[in-house]
Every structure is written in C-alpha cells, then in structure tokens.
C-alpha cells in the first residue's frame, strides 16, 4: 500500500538496510522520513481492515438473521460439516499467523533467511488451508449440496447424518443455510487467495533484500491483513462447524 517516489522504483534493487530513519530508496517524496512513511502505511492498513470488518459484517448479519429465525435449520445443517476438517483448518491458520508474525520480527531484526523461511511457511500453510477447503467443497458439491435452489443432498450423505437428524425431513431452506455458508467461507477463501499472492510478492521482494530494520512496512501490512483473515476464520469455525 505504501506509495513510493516514482524514481524510487528504479533504485529498488539497492540495499534494504539503507537509510535507517532518513531518506532511503523506498521513501516516497511526500513523506519526511521512513518512520513517517511506516506509521502512515500502518494507519492506512488498519483503516482498510476496519472496512473489511464491515464487509464481512453484512454477511454475519445475514447469518444472525437466518439463525435467529430458523435455529432448527442451523442445528440440522451443521451435521453436514465435518468439525475435524474445520478444526484442522483453524490450527493451520493459527500456525500461519504465527509464522507471519515471526516474519515481521525477522524483518525488523534484519534476519533475511528467517524472513524468507517464515514467509514460505506462511504461504505453505495458506495453501494447506485452501486444499482442505477444496476437499470440503468438492465433497459437498459431489453430494448435491449446492447453494440456494441447487441444494439437493444425495441419499448417501443423508445416511451419514447422526440418527436424530436422519429422522427429520430435509428442511426446505437448507439451500439458504448453504448459501450463507458458501458466501462466508467463499469470501474468506478469496481473502486467503489474495493473501497468498501478497505473501508471494513480499517473499520475492525479501529475496531481493528489500527489507530490513529501516524498511519493513509492507511485511507488517500484509501480516496485519493476514491476521484479520485468521480472526474472521476464528468466528466462522464455531458458527458453522460447531453450533
């Protein structure tokens, strides 16, 4: 997110450790010094995260409305979701948050190899998350569980439900539950994808030695974004898989 001086890009190959405090190759022309630039970038990211909270907030509201008015539907439908996969993904994301936070620490301390390693671990865990998600999605779609009007669970999957749920008729609005499920986890998944792309970009720049104690704003910014993605999953997991 940080803006740089147009001519700064040309010098981008230079040492990342240059200019602690003063002007460096990555200092945009309208900032006074690197500290000024860092704090401004961080503020911008936080505002963006605030906006993201409301972006997801609309979906959480939809969840709340339908859950409050059709609690039996949600209790029935969560049996279709495997909490073990959800819990696995929760731990995967916590791990990736840890490595992202560690990457910021490495950048701040100028430990380049640790930085690259933690970034790669973060990316690997994020990919793991998506793979698990892919398994869940494809399994559901294979068993006829789409969203909205295209939700017709197959007899096989109905047979796997716990006994008390099997006794119930399939609710007419199961598709609405899965609409909310796919919307929320799907939007979250898109954020994970974007996160992977951002970390890949950061890792590439880290490889070129851009980051160090004097300039680590982009690492911090992407990590902050990543923690928010983690935070949203922390709420999605119990709401869909456990309740």
């Amino acid at each position: 997110m940080s803006a740089r001086h147009p001519t700064g890009a040309a010098e981008a190959g230079g040492s990342g450790d240059a200019g602690t405090g003063g002007a460096g190759p990555f200092l945009a022309h309208h900032f006074e010094d690197m500290g000024h630039q860092l704090e401004t970038t961080t503020l911008g990211i936080w505002l963006f995260l605030g906006s993201e909270v409301l972006f997801f907030g609309g979906l959480f509201t939809a969840y709340g409305v339908y859950r409050a008015n059709h609690p039996e539907l949600f209790r029935y439908a969560h049996h279709f979701l495997d909490w073990r996969l959800g819990a696995t993904n929760t731990l995967v994301l916590i791990g990736s948050s840890l490595s992202a936070a560690w990457a910021v620490r490495a950048a701040q301390l100028g430990r380049r190899r640790v930085l690259t390693a933690t970034l790669l671990v973060t990316i690997a865990l994020a990919v793991t998350f998506l793979v698990v998600k892919y398994i869940e999605y494809s399994h559901k779609l294979h068993e006829g569980i789409g969203w909205g009007a295209s939700c017709h669970p197959s007899a096989e999957i109905l047979a796997t439900l716990p006994e008390h749920a099997r006794a119930l008729p399939v609710p007419a609005r199961l598709g609405t539950f899965f609409a909310i499920y796919y919307l929320m986890t799907g939007l979250h998944g898109i954020h994970v994808l974007v996160g992977i792309a951002l970390f890949a970009w950061i890792a590439a720049r880290a490889g070129r030695g851009h980051f160090g104690p004097g300039y680590y704003g982009p690492v911090d910014a992407v990590a902050l974004y990543w923690h928010l993605v983690d935070m949203i999953w922390i709420f999605l997991f119990p709401l869909f898989y456990l309740l």
Binding site: L43, L54, G58, A62, L183
Partner: protein
C-alpha cells in the same frame, strides 16, 4: 511573501505544465491532477443525469405523460437517480474538490497514498463505464434503491447485474478515497498544526472519510449478495426462494442513509470555509462546528430505519429510529447558527462563492426542517414515498450539496486553474440556480402533501399545475448551471491570471501559487496562526491579491 507573483502566474512551473499528453494525466499520481480528472468526470455525470432529469420533467408536463412510455420513464428516473447519486453527489465534493484541496490545506506534497488515490479514480471510472453499459444493455427500471423482489426478478437480465457490479466497484472507489483522506489528515499535518487548527473543510472530510470506510463496504457486500441471488437464487432476499425482502432494505439503507451525510458533510465544510473568508472574520464557534461534523457522522449511522417506517419493519425498530433521526437536527442547527453568527459584524463580500453560500442557508434550512416531518413517525406515514420526500431530498442533495459544490468550485477555481472567472456570470448563475431550484421543488412539496406518490409516470390531472411549474423550474435551474459552466470554461481562455491569494483567505492552500507547482510547496510550510486568522492580510491589488504583512506602496 510581500513580493508574491505580481505578474502573470508562473504557469511554467505549475502542476498543469508538469508533463504533457494524456498519459501524464491518466496515470498521474499527483492529487491535483487526479482531482481535476474527477472534476471532469463528475461534470460529465452531472450533465448526463441532468439531461435525464429534463426528459423526466418534460414527460410530466401532461398528466398522461406521452413523451416516453411508462417503462421508458421508469428507466429514466432509475438512471437519473443512480448516476446523480453514485457518480455526482457522493464523489462530487470529496473526490474532486477534496482531492485538490486537502493536501494543500495541510501544506503537504500529496495525499498519504497517491497510488491508492489513482486506483480510486480508475475504479470510479470503471463504475461509470458499467453504468453506461447498463444503459446500452437496455437500462434498468428498478429505481436506484433496487428493492427486491422487483429488482431481482428473473425477467431482469444483464442490466441489473451490470448495475450491481457498478455499485460494487464505485463503492470501493469511495472506501479508498475515505481511507486515504483519514490517513492524510492524521499523518500529514505540518508541524504546529494541531487537530483544532485544521480548516473546517478538513474536519468535514475527516468525518466523511469515517462514514465512507465504515458504511460503504456494506453496500459492496449487499450488491454482491444481490448479484448472486439474481443468478443462483440463494434465498436471501427473494420471498420466492425463502428470502426476506425487508432484510435487503436494512442492508441498503445501512449504507445509503449515511451516504446522505457523505454528501452533505463536505458541503458543510465548504460553507464553513467560504462564510468565514467572505465575512473577513474567524469562523464562529470552531469547536462546535468541528464536533458537530463528527456527531452527524456517528448519529448518521443509527438512523437508517427511518426509510422503512411503512415497509413492515417492527414497531420497536421504528420508534428507536425515529428518535435517533430527530437528533440529527441538533448538530445541523448548531452549524447553521454558527455560520450566521460568523457573518455578524463581519465585512461581507458578495462574491460568487459567498452568494452561493447565502442561498445555501435558505435551501439547507428548508431541506433540514422538512426532514423533521419525515423523521417524526406520525407525519412520515402519509408523506412517505410521496413527492414531499422527492422535494426534501432534492433540497438536501441538489439544493444544498450542489450549491455548496458550486460555491467551492468558484472559490477554488483560481487555485485550480490560475484564472479568475467572470463575477458577473457567476452571480447570474447563482441567481438563476436559486430561482430555478425553488420553482422546481417547492411545488413538489405541495403535491406531496396533497398525496401524489413518487415514481409516477402518469398522475391525476389535479396535479398538473404543480408539475408544470416544476418543469419550468427545472429548465431555469438547468440554464443556471449552463451559465455557470460557460463562465468557468470561458475563464480558462479569457480570465485574468489569478494571484496566489485572491480572496484574502488564511488557510495554507492560498500560500501556494495559483496554480500550485507540481509538489505544492518548496518546503513544508509552517502552519499559519490559525486557518481563519485574517489579521495582517492586506489587499494590494487585483493582480497581486492579498498578502500578509506590511506593504510598501
């Protein structure tokens, strides 16, 4: 400073001369060029929306319509609303004037994130293209409020999908602008400028930014949900599939009511600047005005349900929303009386921006006070969805916001272009706009009280008189805008060069030359004693403008 550009402004070094060709504009990271590009795009949107409005008014000349079909009329008012709201009024003051002025008022070289700023402009442009594509795809006839089930029925094809896409994209443009402005105001203030030394325009932009960042994402997600509902029948909003249409209304108004404050707050900011400068007096009650902007932004979030008093919303919700809605009257009253007190014992200069602002007072008073009728439950029920509402929001959004936009445009025009506009044409346009505006919308209040619902392609013959007056007024209003446009464009060729400080204003943007150089200030300027401290400013001549300090003749 005393020897400031006495001759023609140094255009060679200005931002206008910094690079030539389309690329140097379209990819510019300079907040001033981005502001000017916004201004052009917004002006084009205003023209488009205005033409739609005139056709609508012509169709309403006769009770049975006839100029266009009912469906044609419905498409026209939908696009009139959508284009005016999303492409003109919401981005109007913040994105065009705000972009240009904000860093200058802070003595900064640019906004905090110039690239985000350019991205925001391009998202806006993409959204505008999508709206035009909607038009090409046959238009939409859903009303700008897009209420399901009507808007998401299977009969509605590509048009509605394009429009929802446009909302999504324009929404993100707005979020990024707001975010950028907040960060800039937080972090780019010059040494010595505390929060209460900010020009009030910046307080207004700050409050606006908060709304943009918090409310607009809900519009985005609502548009996305609507899009998917239309394509995949998710069962969220369409009763046919088990959804709840009133839920959409909640989502829509959670954004779209605060959006009204995205429009009016920057307008109030412009008024605060102009009224002080042209009264030659510090603004009265700075802190109350600043805090009332924040109060409006916060209360503005809690009132969306007043659009739903007759929609089947629960009674509890209606009572809560009515109470909160009426509270908005208080910060609005504070501002109005503080502006009036600013003029008290001043030395009022009747230049075009000030005349626009004087008309703003009357228009905003009517717009605000008629809001009481609609915030109070008992009177809202009969007036809801009638022409009373149409007149009310046009007083606020067209009357107040557009008048303030024109005031601000004339006020900062010399800074933007380095040319003085013609005062005579400016005053004529202000007068025509004022008269035309009232002729258009006052009859609509009466028609609404008498029970004429809005969005009617045809109407009972009893309302013919009201509608004809209104149609005549619309053309007078349009002529006022044409005169304003002509006056401003003509000044680009024939206007005399503007001095750095033609109005004797004290805020920092006037210490840069007109037009400002590419990076605004050689060195970060020190904050002035106060943004409204006019002591020591002397008018030297029309060529030199106002300068601070003693002048040797």
């Amino acid at each position: 400073m005393t020897t400031a550009a006495a001759d023609a402004p140094d255009r060679a070094g200005s931002y206008l001369a910094h690079g030539r060709g389309a690329r140097s504009w379209l990819l510019s990271l300079d907040h001033k060029r981005i502001g000017v590009m916004y201004l052009v795009a917004i002006g084009a949107s205003l023209l488009l929306g205005g033409v739609f409005a005139l056709v609508l008014r012509l169709n309403l000349w006769r009770p049975s319509g006839g100029l266009v079909s009912n469906d044609g009329y419905n498409r026209l008012f939908t696009l009139h609303g959508a284009v005016m709201i999303f492409l003109f009024v919401i981005p109007g003051i913040p994105a065009a004037l705000g972009n240009f002025v904000l860093p200058l008022q802070l003595g900064a070289k640019d906004v905090a994130f110039p690239r985000v700023n350019l991205l925001s402009f391009w998202l806006y442009a993409l959204g505008a293209v999508l709206f035009v594509a909607t038009l090409v795809a046959g238009g939409i006839d859903t009303g700008w409020t897009l209420y399901p089930p009507y808007s998401l029925e299977s009969a509605r094809g590509l048009g509605i999908l394009l429009a929802l896409g446009a909302l999504f994209v324009v929404g993100f443009s707005s979020i990024l602008t707001g975010l950028n402005f907040i960060a800039t105001i937080h972090r780019m203030r010059p040494p010595g400028m505390g929060w209460f030394d900010l020009p009030l325009f910046l307080w207004a932009l700050y409050a606006t930014g908060l709304i943009q960042v918090i409310a607009t994402p809900v519009l985005g997600i609502t548009a996305a949900m609507g899009f998917l509902e239309r394509v995949f029948h998710l069962g969220l909003f369409m009763p046919e599939y088990g959804g709840d249409p009133v839920l959409f209304q909640h989502f829509f108004w959670f954004y779209s009511h605060p959006a009204v404050y995205i429009m009016i707050l920057p307008a109030m900011g412009v008024v605060s600047e102009v009224v002080s400068v042209f009264s030659r007096k510090p603004i009265f009650g700075y802190r109350f005005i600043a805090m009332s902007s924040i109060a409006i932004a916060v209360i503005g979030f809690l009132v969306w349900g007043h659009h739903m008093f007759v929609s089947g919303q629960s009674r509890t919700a209606s009572v809560i929303f009515s109470g909160l809605t009426l509270l908005v009257a208080i910060p609005s009253a504070i501002k109005t009386f503080n502006w009036l007190a600013t003029m008290y014992k001043g030395a009022i200069v009747l230049a075009t921006p000030m005349v626009y602002v004087l008309t703003f007072f009357a228009i905003f008073a009517v717009g605000g006070l008629t809001g009481l009728f609609l915030g109070a439950l008992a009177t809202d029920v009969p007036l809801h969805d009638t022409y009373f509402v149409v007149a009310h929001f046009h007083f606020v959004m067209v009357g107040a916001v557009m008048t303030a936009f024109l005031a601000g445009l004339h006020y900062w025009w010399p800074k933007m272009t380095g040319r003085m506009y013609s005062e005579r044409l400016g005053l004529v346009s202000a007068a025509l706009t004022f008269v035309g505006f009232h002729l258009t919308f006052v009859p609509q209040f009466v028609a609404g009280v008498l029970g004429m619902p809005r969005r009617y392609a045809t109407y009972a013959p009893a309302f013919a008189g009201h509608n004809r007056l209104s149609t005549v007024g619309a053309f007078v209003l349009a002529s006022g805008l044409v005169v304003a446009l002509y006056g401003l464009l003509r000044s680009l060729r024939t206007g005399r060069p503007a001095p750095a400080n033609p109005w004797g204003a004290a805020s920092l943007e006037w210490s840069a030359s007109s037009p400002p150089p590419w990076d605004n200030f050689e060195r970060t300027p020190h904050a002035p004693p106060g943004p409204y401290d006019y002591t020591g400013l002397r008018h030297v001549s029309d060529e030199v403008g106002w300068v601070r300090g003693e002048v040797t003749p």
